[in-house]
Protein backbone atom coordinates (compact mmCIF):
# COMPACT_ATOMS: atom_id res chain seq x y z
CA UNK A 1 0.00 0.00 0.00
CA UNK A 2 1.31 3.48 -0.86
CA UNK A 3 2.12 6.06 1.85
CA UNK A 4 -0.74 8.27 0.60
CA UNK A 5 -3.22 5.41 0.97
CA UNK A 6 -1.96 4.67 4.50
CA UNK A 7 -2.30 8.36 5.37
CA UNK A 8 -5.87 8.35 4.01
CA UNK A 9 -6.74 5.26 6.03
CA UNK A 10 -5.18 6.72 9.21
CA UNK A 11 -7.12 9.96 8.71
CA UNK A 12 -10.37 8.01 8.22
CA UNK A 13 -9.71 6.05 11.45
CA UNK A 14 -8.88 9.22 13.35
CA UNK A 15 -12.02 10.84 11.97
CA UNK A 16 -14.18 7.91 13.16
CA UNK A 17 -12.64 8.03 16.66
CA UNK A 18 -13.03 11.79 16.89
CA UNK A 19 -16.66 11.50 15.78
CA UNK A 20 -17.39 8.92 18.50
CA UNK A 21 -15.83 11.27 21.06
CA UNK A 22 -17.95 14.11 19.68
CA UNK A 23 -21.17 12.09 19.97
CA UNK A 24 -20.29 11.17 23.56
CA UNK A 25 -19.41 14.78 24.41
CA UNK A 26 -22.59 16.17 22.83
CA UNK A 27 -25.09 13.62 24.13
CA UNK A 28 -23.60 12.51 27.46
CA UNK A 29 -20.80 14.78 28.71
CA UNK A 30 -22.40 18.18 28.06
CA UNK A 31 -24.97 19.22 30.69
CA UNK A 32 -28.60 19.67 29.71
CA UNK A 33 -29.46 23.30 29.08
CA UNK A 34 -32.11 24.70 31.42
CA UNK A 35 -34.40 26.50 28.95
CA UNK A 36 -34.18 24.43 25.76
CA UNK A 37 -33.61 21.06 27.41
CA UNK A 38 -32.27 18.15 25.33
CA UNK A 39 -32.91 19.94 22.04
CA UNK A 40 -30.09 22.40 22.76
CA UNK A 41 -27.73 19.46 22.01
CA UNK A 42 -28.35 20.08 18.29
CA UNK A 43 -26.00 23.05 18.82
CA UNK A 44 -22.96 20.70 19.23
CA UNK A 45 -23.37 19.48 15.67
CA UNK A 46 -25.24 22.37 14.02
CA UNK A 47 -22.56 24.99 14.73
CA UNK A 48 -19.46 22.84 13.89
CA UNK A 49 -21.17 21.80 10.64
CA UNK A 50 -21.72 25.50 9.87
CA UNK A 51 -18.07 26.32 10.65
CA UNK A 52 -16.90 23.50 8.36
CA UNK A 53 -19.23 24.70 5.57
CA UNK A 54 -17.73 28.22 5.85
CA UNK A 55 -14.21 26.78 5.99
CA UNK A 56 -14.91 24.73 2.89
CA UNK A 57 -16.27 27.70 0.95
CA UNK A 58 -13.16 29.60 2.14
CA UNK A 59 -10.91 26.88 0.71
CA UNK A 60 -12.86 27.05 -2.55
CA UNK A 61 -12.47 30.86 -2.55
CA UNK A 62 -8.67 30.70 -2.05
CA UNK A 63 -8.25 27.91 -4.62
CA UNK A 64 -10.37 29.86 -7.14
CA UNK A 65 -8.18 32.94 -6.68
CA UNK A 66 -5.17 30.64 -7.12
CA UNK A 67 -6.64 29.28 -10.34
CA UNK A 68 -7.34 32.72 -11.82
CA UNK A 69 -3.93 34.07 -10.73
CA UNK A 70 -1.73 31.11 -11.63
CA UNK A 71 -3.79 28.68 -13.66
CA UNK A 72 -3.22 24.96 -13.18
CA UNK A 73 -5.72 22.14 -12.91
CA UNK A 74 -4.93 21.40 -9.23
CA UNK A 75 -6.36 24.75 -8.05
CA UNK A 76 -9.59 24.03 -9.93
CA UNK A 77 -9.79 20.52 -8.50
CA UNK A 78 -9.45 21.82 -4.94
CA UNK A 79 -11.98 24.62 -5.56
CA UNK A 80 -14.53 22.16 -6.97
CA UNK A 81 -14.03 19.56 -4.23
CA UNK A 82 -14.27 22.18 -1.48
CA UNK A 83 -17.40 23.79 -2.95
CA UNK A 84 -19.15 20.42 -3.23
CA UNK A 85 -18.31 19.37 0.34
CA UNK A 86 -19.24 22.87 1.55
CA UNK A 87 -22.65 22.47 -0.09
CA UNK A 88 -23.22 19.11 1.65
CA UNK A 89 -22.42 20.72 5.02
CA UNK A 90 -24.46 23.84 4.23
CA UNK A 91 -27.47 21.59 3.51
CA UNK A 92 -26.99 20.03 6.95
CA UNK A 93 -26.77 23.45 8.59
CA UNK A 94 -30.12 24.45 7.10
CA UNK A 95 -31.86 21.14 7.87
CA UNK A 96 -30.63 20.85 11.48
CA UNK A 97 -31.43 24.54 11.98
CA UNK A 98 -34.98 23.93 10.74
CA UNK A 99 -35.41 21.14 13.28
CA UNK A 100 -34.20 23.36 16.08
CA UNK A 101 -36.49 26.16 14.85
CA UNK A 102 -39.51 23.85 14.87
CA UNK A 103 -39.05 23.22 18.60
CA UNK A 104 -37.81 26.68 19.62
CA UNK A 105 -39.88 28.98 17.40
CA UNK A 106 -42.75 26.61 16.54
CA UNK A 107 -42.03 26.97 12.82
CA UNK A 108 -39.78 25.10 10.38
CA UNK A 109 -38.73 28.30 8.62
CA UNK A 110 -38.79 32.05 9.11
CA UNK A 111 -37.24 34.77 6.95
CA UNK A 112 -34.76 35.76 9.65
CA UNK A 113 -31.57 37.49 8.34
CA UNK A 114 -29.32 34.58 9.41
CA UNK A 115 -31.57 31.96 7.83
CA UNK A 116 -32.14 33.96 4.68
CA UNK A 117 -28.46 34.73 4.06
CA UNK A 118 -27.60 31.06 4.70
CA UNK A 119 -30.21 29.98 2.15
CA UNK A 120 -28.76 32.50 -0.34
CA UNK A 121 -25.30 30.99 0.27
CA UNK A 122 -26.68 27.49 -0.35
CA UNK A 123 -28.34 28.65 -3.59
CA UNK A 124 -25.13 30.34 -4.82
CA UNK A 125 -23.12 27.13 -4.42
CA UNK A 126 -25.97 25.03 -5.85
CA UNK A 127 -25.64 27.33 -8.88
CA UNK A 128 -21.88 26.75 -8.85
CA UNK A 129 -22.38 22.97 -9.00
CA UNK A 130 -24.99 23.29 -11.78
CA UNK A 131 -22.58 25.52 -13.72
CA UNK A 132 -19.80 22.92 -13.40
CA UNK A 133 -22.08 20.30 -14.87
CA UNK A 134 -23.30 22.42 -17.75
CA UNK A 135 -20.14 23.92 -19.33
CA UNK A 136 -18.34 21.47 -21.65
CA UNK A 137 -15.08 23.32 -22.24
CA UNK A 138 -12.65 22.61 -19.39
CA UNK A 139 -10.93 25.98 -19.28
CA UNK A 140 -14.13 28.01 -19.56
CA UNK A 141 -15.77 25.83 -16.92
CA UNK A 142 -12.88 26.33 -14.50
CA UNK A 143 -12.75 30.09 -15.14
CA UNK A 144 -16.51 30.73 -14.77
CA UNK A 145 -16.65 28.50 -11.68
CA UNK A 146 -13.75 30.36 -10.09
CA UNK A 147 -15.57 33.68 -10.57
CA UNK A 148 -18.78 32.27 -9.01
CA UNK A 149 -16.84 30.78 -6.06
CA UNK A 150 -15.10 34.10 -5.39
CA UNK A 151 -18.31 36.14 -5.60
CA UNK A 152 -20.26 33.49 -3.66
CA UNK A 153 -17.82 33.59 -0.79
CA UNK A 154 -18.69 37.27 -0.23
CA UNK A 155 -21.92 35.99 1.34
CA UNK A 156 -20.03 34.08 4.08
CA UNK A 157 -19.10 37.16 6.17
CA UNK A 158 -22.65 38.45 5.61
CA UNK A 159 -24.07 35.18 7.05
CA UNK A 160 -21.68 35.43 10.00
CA UNK A 161 -22.46 39.10 10.69
CA UNK A 162 -26.22 38.88 9.97
CA UNK A 163 -27.06 38.38 13.66
CA UNK A 164 -24.95 41.41 14.57
CA UNK A 165 -26.00 43.77 11.76
CA UNK A 166 -29.76 43.16 11.76
CA UNK A 167 -32.47 42.43 14.25
CA UNK A 168 -32.75 38.68 14.53
CA UNK A 169 -34.29 35.94 16.61
CA UNK A 170 -31.36 33.58 15.98
CA UNK A 171 -29.39 32.86 19.20
CA UNK A 172 -26.02 34.61 19.61
CA UNK A 173 -23.53 32.35 21.40
CA UNK A 174 -20.28 34.02 20.41
CA UNK A 175 -20.39 37.79 20.75
CA UNK A 176 -18.07 40.68 21.62
CA UNK A 177 -18.38 39.86 25.35
CA UNK A 178 -16.97 36.35 24.74
CA UNK A 179 -18.43 32.86 24.65
CA UNK A 180 -21.79 32.48 26.38
CA UNK A 181 -21.33 28.81 27.29
CA UNK A 182 -20.66 26.73 30.38
CA UNK A 183 -17.08 25.29 30.38
CA UNK A 184 -18.38 21.71 29.85
CA UNK A 185 -20.57 22.90 26.97
CA UNK A 186 -17.63 24.73 25.42
CA UNK A 187 -15.47 21.58 25.71
CA UNK A 188 -18.19 19.48 24.02
CA UNK A 189 -18.46 22.09 21.28
CA UNK A 190 -14.67 22.16 20.69
CA UNK A 191 -14.45 18.34 20.58
CA UNK A 192 -17.26 18.25 18.04
CA UNK A 193 -15.66 21.04 16.01
CA UNK A 194 -12.32 19.17 15.93
CA UNK A 195 -14.09 15.97 14.84
CA UNK A 196 -15.87 17.72 11.96
CA UNK A 197 -12.68 19.48 10.84
CA UNK A 198 -10.84 16.10 10.73
CA UNK A 199 -13.76 14.57 8.79
CA UNK A 200 -13.67 17.53 6.43
CA UNK A 201 -9.92 17.17 5.74
CA UNK A 202 -10.39 13.42 5.05
CA UNK A 203 -13.29 14.12 2.67
CA UNK A 204 -11.45 16.93 0.88
CA UNK A 205 -8.32 14.84 0.28
CA UNK A 206 -10.41 11.91 -1.00
CA UNK A 207 -12.46 14.17 -3.29
CA UNK A 208 -9.39 15.93 -4.74
CA UNK A 209 -7.75 12.53 -5.44
CA UNK A 210 -10.95 11.47 -7.15
CA UNK A 211 -10.84 14.52 -9.42
CA UNK A 212 -7.28 13.54 -10.43
CA UNK A 213 -8.56 10.05 -11.28
CA UNK A 214 -11.42 11.56 -13.29
CA UNK A 215 -8.84 13.59 -15.24
CA UNK A 216 -6.86 10.42 -15.92
CA UNK A 217 -10.02 8.73 -17.26
CA UNK A 218 -10.63 11.72 -19.54
CA UNK A 219 -7.02 11.68 -20.75
CA UNK A 220 -7.11 7.91 -21.48
CA UNK A 221 -10.47 8.25 -23.29
CA UNK A 222 -8.97 10.84 -25.61
CA UNK A 223 -6.04 8.51 -26.34
CA UNK A 224 -8.42 5.64 -27.14
CA UNK A 225 -10.44 7.85 -29.51
Amino acid sequence: MKTREWAGLALTGLSALAMMAAIYAALVYAPTERVMGALQRIFYFHVPVAVVAFLSFGVSFVASIGYLARGGRRWDQVAYAAAEIGEVFASLVILTGMMWARAAWNTWWTWDPRLTTTLVLWLIYAGYLILRGSVEDEIRRARYSAVVAILGFLDVPVVFMAIRWWRTIHPVVFDSSGVNLEPAMLSAFLISLAAFVILYVALLLARVRQESLADEVEFLRRRVQ
Partner: protein, 54 residues
Protein backbone atom coordinates in the same frame (compact mmCIF):
# COMPACT_ATOMS: atom_id res chain seq x y z
CA UNK B 1 -43.56 18.12 18.24
CA UNK B 2 -41.49 16.26 20.84
CA UNK B 3 -38.05 17.92 21.17
CA UNK B 4 -36.26 14.59 21.83
CA UNK B 5 -37.74 13.26 18.61
CA UNK B 6 -36.38 16.31 16.76
CA UNK B 7 -32.95 15.89 18.36
CA UNK B 8 -32.77 12.24 17.29
CA UNK B 9 -34.01 13.18 13.80
CA UNK B 10 -31.36 15.93 13.49
CA UNK B 11 -28.51 13.60 14.50
CA UNK B 12 -29.83 10.82 12.24
CA UNK B 13 -30.09 13.26 9.34
CA UNK B 14 -26.46 14.34 9.80
CA UNK B 15 -25.28 10.73 9.61
CA UNK B 16 -27.52 9.87 6.68
CA UNK B 17 -26.03 12.82 4.76
CA UNK B 18 -22.42 12.13 5.77
CA UNK B 19 -22.57 8.36 5.12
CA UNK B 20 -24.60 8.91 1.95
CA UNK B 21 -21.94 11.27 0.64
CA UNK B 22 -19.13 8.87 1.63
CA UNK B 23 -20.98 6.00 -0.10
CA UNK B 24 -21.42 8.11 -3.24
CA UNK B 25 -17.69 8.96 -3.19
CA UNK B 26 -16.82 5.27 -2.76
CA UNK B 27 -19.04 4.17 -5.67
CA UNK B 28 -17.62 6.89 -7.92
CA UNK B 29 -14.05 5.97 -6.92
CA UNK B 30 -14.66 2.30 -7.79
CA UNK B 31 -16.21 3.24 -11.15
CA UNK B 32 -13.30 5.57 -12.03
CA UNK B 33 -10.71 2.92 -11.10
CA UNK B 34 -12.53 0.36 -13.28
CA UNK B 35 -12.61 2.85 -16.16
CA UNK B 36 -8.86 3.55 -15.84
CA UNK B 37 -8.08 -0.20 -15.90
CA UNK B 38 -10.35 -0.85 -18.91
CA UNK B 39 -8.95 2.09 -20.87
CA UNK B 40 -5.35 1.10 -20.08
CA UNK B 41 -6.06 -2.44 -21.25
CA UNK B 42 -7.64 -1.10 -24.44
CA UNK B 43 -4.58 1.09 -25.12
CA UNK B 44 -2.17 -1.77 -24.38
CA UNK B 45 -4.15 -4.08 -26.68
CA UNK B 46 -4.10 -1.52 -29.47
CA UNK B 47 -0.34 -0.87 -29.04
CA UNK B 48 0.33 -4.65 -29.04
CA UNK B 49 -1.64 -5.18 -32.27
CA UNK B 50 0.12 -2.24 -33.90
CA UNK B 51 3.57 -3.61 -32.92
CA UNK B 52 2.66 -7.10 -34.26
CA UNK B 53 1.60 -5.60 -37.61
CA UNK B 54 4.62 -3.28 -37.84
Amino acid sequence: MNSTYLLVAAYALIWVFVFGYIAWLGRRQAWLQREVELLRKAIEGYSGRKAARG
